[in-house]
Structure formats: C-alpha cells, structure tokens
C-alpha cells in the first residue's frame, strides 16, 4: 500500500473512530448525555485524535528514517494500521462518563496551534541552515578571502573561477541607490501632499491608485524595463539618439533597472511615510500654525523633523526591498560584474547572479553553483539587518508619540 493510500486509510479509520466514540459515550451514559463530563462529540473527537496523530507521526517517521525506507511497504502497512486499530480500541475502552474528553481534545488542539506558530521559526531555521550548510561546502572548495575581498567575478565552469561578491555588491547598491533617488522624493512628497493637503476625496482616489503600483507583479516591471524603458533610454542616450551623444550601448543598464525599481517602490515609500506623518500629533502642527508659520513651513520645520526617524525607517525598508528585488534586475540590469560609476552601463547584482548560477546546467557540487548559496546567505543577512534596524527605529518612533 503506498503512503498516500495508507494516509487515506488512517484518515478513514479515525473518522470511524469519531462516530464510534460518540456513540459509545452516549451508550455508557445510558442515553442521558447530562451524565457525561463533556459533550458527546468531544468523546468522538478524542478517539479520532488518539487514532490519527500517533499513526500519522509513525508513518512520517517511517518515511524519513533511511534504514526503514528500504523495508518493503507490506510490514509498514501492518504496523501502522495495527497501531491505529489498537489505539482505537484502547481509547474506546477509556470512555467513561468521567473522562474529561473536552480538556484532552483542547490540549491537543492547543498543541496543533503551537506547532503551526512555530512553523515560522522553523522556516527561518530552514533558510539559515540550508544556506549555511551549502555555504560551508562552498568555502571548502573556494577561498573565503577571495569571496569577500576579491575584486573580480568571473565564473568559469571548467573550474578556477574568480568568485568575489564585491563587484556584485557594488552593482546591487548602485541600482538600489538609483531606485531610492527616484522613489524617495516622489513617494515622500506624495505622502506629504496626501496627508497634509489633500481633501478626503483626492486622498480616497489617489492613494489606492498609487497602491496599485505595489500590487503589480515584479515580472511586469521587469518586462517594462527590458522592452520599454531600456529601449527608450537607448534612444535618448545611445548613438544616433535624441541627445546626439553615444553614452549607452545596450538597453540593459543601471539606470534602466533603477528607474523601474524606483517606480515600484513609490507606493511603498509613500504609504509607509503617510502612516508615519499621520502619527505626528496634531498639537504640534497647531502650535506651529498658531505662531504664524505657513503650512509648508510647519511641515518642513515641525512635522518632518518629528517624523524623521520613522521616515528613515521607511526608507531603510524600501532599501531592503530594492536589494532583494530579483526580476527587475534579471531582465533590466545586464550581466556584467564590474566597478563603474556610469549609470548607463550594464551591471549585475547579487540576486541576478543567484538566478544565473542556479538555473544553469552546472554540476551541483561545483563552487560555481554553490556560490549562489553564499550569495543568498549574504543577501539574507543584509536584508535582515536592514529590516531589524528599520523596524526598531519605526517602533521606538511610534512609542515616542503614544
């Protein structure tokens, strides 16, 4: 019997347990359910849980334990089903009017809830462990000094590659900077206008419209960068273009990816800053306006300074988004790893390289593939650091005015 059918059989057995358990509870009470400690259905669920959980755990254990994997499926079926039936009989015998079935069932449910909540922790541990493990393998094959302090990224699938994160990190930071240069002024001014000037009507229309930009999948932005913004920039800055200069040779460039990423981040910056500006107490504005300051002076000299820590937090969150963004840079930034200040040149980022190293045909044990895990771990640490700092700043800022 395959694992799937075995699971299904166990499920059916425990469903049967629910029905029989309920009936037995009613019968031990002599038909008078008031004599029971709990409602009859809890006795049924009690039997169901007693059958289901140990048998399923046993099955899972059997599936993941390597020596038992070799054993044929016949004994597995007998052991699992035998235990299920045994547990059903035992739990049915235990049913008496005094059995606190509800309490037992609720304890199990609480256990399930705790398991679900700890899954979040498990995910994080899984992320860190899986990447740590492969990163260690990578550093066994490749010098860590070259990875962190080397200056060249030149993977070579015949071996002897130079794999250094620095050029990739530079590309990542440069593109993120361009994105922030686009999104922060636009997002911030939009937030200021929406929270301080706009009437409820304007706000009600333009805020959700701006937030549509945040709901658009990144692949759409990637395509927009590759097929619309890139060629547009090329026609402006490329040879024979509108400006008559020859600064750009291909559609993929830092500016292409940065601009589009900036568009994507506008609603992110604006809605976060909007919340933060709204949290500034009205009394501070009233005080400033009462002294004769104009509205813009109040905003510049009172509201923004008061909201500054929160806004910095919002910008850091946007920066962490920009660093981890993948599809826009994969399609719009190019593949050249180099140190350059020219925003019209193609450059590459950490995320782009992760995709290209892991989607190639490379051998999974080669440093050229494993480097992706080291890159991923660096990316994880980087974005996690930014988030923790940003969340800390935003939280202390909020507490300040509560």
């Amino acid at each position: 019997m395959s694992a799937f059918w075995l699971t299904l059989t166990v499920l059916v057995l425990s469903a049967l347990g629910v029905v029989i358990g309920r009936a037995r509870a009613v019968s031990v009470a002599g038909g008078d359910v008031r004599k029971l400690h709990s409602l009859p259905k809890y006795y049924g669920i009690f039997v169901g849980f007693t059958v289901l959980i140990p048998s399923l755990l046993l099955l899972i254990l059997w599936l993941v334990t390597p020596p038992l994997e070799q054993v044929s499926t016949q004994p597995r079926m007998f052991v699992v089903l035998g235990i299920a039936v045994l547990l059903m009989v035992l739990s049915l015998i235990r049913i008496t009017p005094d059995l606190r079935a509800r309490n037992a069932v609720e304890r199990v449910v609480l256990g399930l809830l705790i398991t679900a909540a700890s899954l979040a922790i498990l995910t994080t541990i899984g992320i860190v462990l899986s990447m740590l493990f492969e990163t260690r393998n990578f550093f066994g094959l490749h010098s860590w000094k070259d990875f962190f302090f080397g200056l060249k990224w030149a993977p070579n699938f015949r071996g002897d590659s130079e794999l250094s994160i620095l050029p990739l990190l530079w590309g990542t930071i440069y593109i993120s900077l361009v994105a922030l240069l686009v999104s922060v002024p636009i997002g911030l001014f939009a937030a200021i206008y929406l929270s301080e000037y706009a009437g409820p009507k304007t706000r009600g229309v333009s805020k959700p419209l701006l937030e549509i930009l945040a709901g658009i999948p990144t692949i759409v932005y990637g395509l927009f960068a590759l097929l619309t913004v890139g060629p547009l920039l090329l026609r402006t800055f490329g040879s024979g273009g509108l400006l008559g200069v020859d600064w750009m040779t291909g559609a993929t460039a830092v500016l292409t990816a940065g601009l589009v990423m900036g568009i994507m981040l506008i609603p992110f910056v604006s809605s976060l800053s909007d919340d933060i500006i709204n949290a500034v107490p009205q009394a501070m504005r009233d005080g400033s306006l009462g002294l004769g300051a104009t509205k813009s002076e109040t905003i510049r000299q009172v509201v923004i300074p008061a909201a500054l820590p929160g806004i910095v937090g919002a910008i850091l969150l946007a920066a962490s988004r920009a660093i981890g963004e993948t599809m826009i840079v994969v399609l719009g930034a190019g593949a050249l790893a180099k140190f350059s200040l020219d925003p019209l040149e193609a450059m590459t980022t950490i995320t782009t390289r992760i995709v290209s190293q892991l989607t190639g045909d490379g051998d999974f044990a080669s440093p050229e593939t494993l480097v992706a895990f080291a890159l991923g771990l660096t990316l994880f640490v980087l974005t996690l650091g930014l988030n923790v700092i940003a969340l800390y700043i935003v939280r202390t800022y909020r507490e300040q005015y509560e």
């Binding site: 609720e106 399930l112 809830l113 398991t115 679900a116 909540a117 899954l119 979040a120 995910t123 994080t124 992320i127 899986s130 990447m131 493990f133 636009i186 997002g187 001014f189 200021i192 206008y193 929406l194 000037y197 333009s206 419209l209 701006l210 930009l213 709901g215 658009i216 999948p217 990144t218 692949i219 759409v220 395509l223 927009f224 590759l226 097929l227 619309t228 506008i266 509205k295 813009s296 002076e297 988004r321 660093i323 981890g324 963004e325 993948t326 599809m327 994969v330 399609l331 995320t351 992760i354 995709v355 892991l358 989607t359 895990f373 990316l379 994880f380 974005t383 988030n387 923790v388 969340l391």
Partner: protein, 441 residues
Amino acid sequence: MSNPLKTSLLTLDARTKKRNAAETRFRAYGIAAIGAGLAMLILLLVTIFGKGLGAFQQTFVTLNVPLLEEKLDKNGTRDLEKIKKVSTFGYAPLLKKAMEETLTEYGIETNLKSKKQAALLSKSAAAQLRNYVLANTDMIGETVEFTFLANARVDGYLKDRVTRESIANDKSINAAQLDMVDALLAAEVIEKRFNLSFITGADASDQRPEAAGMGVSMLGSFFMMLVVLALALPIGVAASIYLEEFAPKNWITDIIEVNISNLAAVPSIVFGILGLAVFINSVHLPQSAPLVGGLVLTLMTLPTIIISTRASLKSVPPSIRDAALGVGASKMQSVFHHVLPLAAPGIFTGTIIGLAQALGETAPLLLIGMIGFIASNAPDSVASGFLDPNSAMPAQIYEWAKRADPAFYERAWGGIIILLVFLITMNTIAVILRRRFERRW
C-alpha cells in the same frame, strides 16, 4: 521693512510674498509627485494593453488541402500503422500543393518557389495536418478545408510589427512573400481573428511563436495556488489564533513575533534557495513540480496571512470573548465558536491578497526549475497536475521575454494581461468581501 509705517495690510511685503511663493511651490511639488506616480501607472497600463492585446489575435490561413493518397498511403490499405510512418516532412508537399492551387484559384502571380510560398504557414501546420489524417484515415484522397496558423512574420506584418523596412536583414521572409500576403489578404484567404489557443494552448518551441499559449502554465499556477490555499490558510490561521489568543507574553513568543515580521520582508529569491535546498535536494521531491512551487510559495505567503489574520482577530472586541466565557464556554470554544467566525471576512480578505501576491511571484520558481519551456504538455490527471513538471504564468512570461524572436514579446505582454486579469479579479473579490462583511464595533 525700513519704514514699517508705509506698508499697508493689503500690500504684501517682500518676505511674505516669498513665503507665500514657497508655500505654493511646496504644494506644487506634492501635486507633481502624485502626478508622476499616477503618470507612471498610466504609462505602465497603456504599455501593457497597447502591446499585449495583439496577442489575443492571430493570423490564420484557410487552405483546401488535397490529402493525396500517393503521398500518405501508397498501398491504399488505410493501415494506421503504415500511415503513421509518414512523418511531418511527408506532409510538406501537400501544403505546398495546396498553397499553389490557392494562388492559381485567385489568379495571384508570384515567382516564388513553392517552398517559399508554403513558408507563410506556421511550422506547426504539417503536424496539424498529420494529426487530422491520423484521426480521420477515411478522408485520405479527399480535399479538406483547413485553417492553419500563419507564420509569426506574416502575423507581425498584419500587426505592423514587421514592415518592409524591418525585414531587410531577415532571412525568414522577403518582400515578394509580403506581396503574396497582401494579395492573399485581399482574397480573404489570410485573415486576422481572435485566437483562443493563446489562452488555452501550451508553450511552443523557439521556432513557432505563433503557436505558443498560456494554458498549460495557467494550470501550473492553478495547482500551485491549490497547494498554497490548502496549507497556508489553515496553518496561518492556527498560528495567528495561538499568537493572538493563547500565547503567554514571554521571550519565546516575542521571538516568534519578530521572526514573522522579518520573514515577511525576506526577499522572495531566498525562499527559492530554501525550496531548492530542502524540498528538492534533501527531501527529493520532483523538480519543477507545482507541488514544490506551492510549498515554497506557502512559506512565502504565510507571514502575510498571519499578519492580516492577527489584525482581524484583534479587531473582534473582547466583550465577545467575555460573553462567551461568561455563559460557560471554554477558552477554546469562545475562540472557535465566536471570535473566529466574526474574524472570517478579514481572514479571507487577507488570504486572497496573499494568494494574489503568490500568483505573481516569479523569482523562487526559477530556482526550483519551473521555467517556461516545460509547459508544453497539459497534465492528464490531478496527480500529474501536482507532480509533473510544469511552469507558472509569471515564469512563462519570463521565458518569453528571454527569447530572441520579438514575436514572443507580444505574447509576454499578452500573458501579463491574463495575469493581471486574475490579480484584478482576486483583489476585487477581496475589496468586496471587506466592504460587505467588515463589521465596525
């Protein structure tokens, strides 16, 4: 300012004027910023619909093809095994002949060779013909009317993507062929119409952009969403109930909370690495399977669902819980019988938004191998829908964007329209749910 007596209240002094100008400027910056944001949105939407709507139309060629017995079934035995031996190459002469006859019928003169004439048809035409013959062996010897897809270049010519100037260096089509297309167009042999197979069809090879469709990758996305829904909703709700209703305030629950808010901001590609390392390399689940994609997206969506579920649980007033406890319900009963049903609309809204996010996610899918070109066979059962290699809508779009032929770009934009239709529908449902059922206490 030197003589304050001379200024009147009605004439503004220089400093006030300056301050007022600064005020107006500041306001204008705000309007300009919102205008810029909205302009980007409009530009984006105009680009998507302007470039993508074309993908829903396709150029078709209607030809009467003589199914010559001497080519398909030399012995005349109608033996299916024998007929199967004729490969698609064997069908090419039929297409050439059909094309020649059509040209004569309408009196179109061209000095093109018959091979070049038939090149106006898609490379899938011969396969289409062969499939028909294998299914209807009794039609051999008759002349049957077929509607073939036209070659992507011809399609591009009808959609103004290909022009007489742009084909100067194009080996696959020349000006004489375009003249022929013009004549056939006038004779209504070639026509452009709605193409359902873009929505329902499978991906096609590099050589046949005209035959590529989104259907199979849509199924891939569908099966992934089933996995996400089946796992993320119950686990997310259970985790939120524990954290919101039962968890004691201690360092462990603090860690879980910080952890969840940070997980929500982990770059999606990191989840892809996790999926590759754990689900594929350690647990050995099949690569490129929607099941694995769904598991990865589940982990990614969980924080979103937990955060929104906790918010809606929090919005249920404590008096409800107190009332339930007061009439003798247990803590568990008060939560499951009263709080949870009242929070349900908010939970579903959050879940739909989380699902919409997962539907548009691409990066992690690339790492676990759900790349586009895999989506060429539709799954034939539910199990194969979960376990057989497939792609997903955004990954399919990415695949098309990477291909060299510009005809694929139109399909990528078209694919985006389909994806956006799904996203808009889901978000609209979420908004309606919130508007109709949200309770203010």
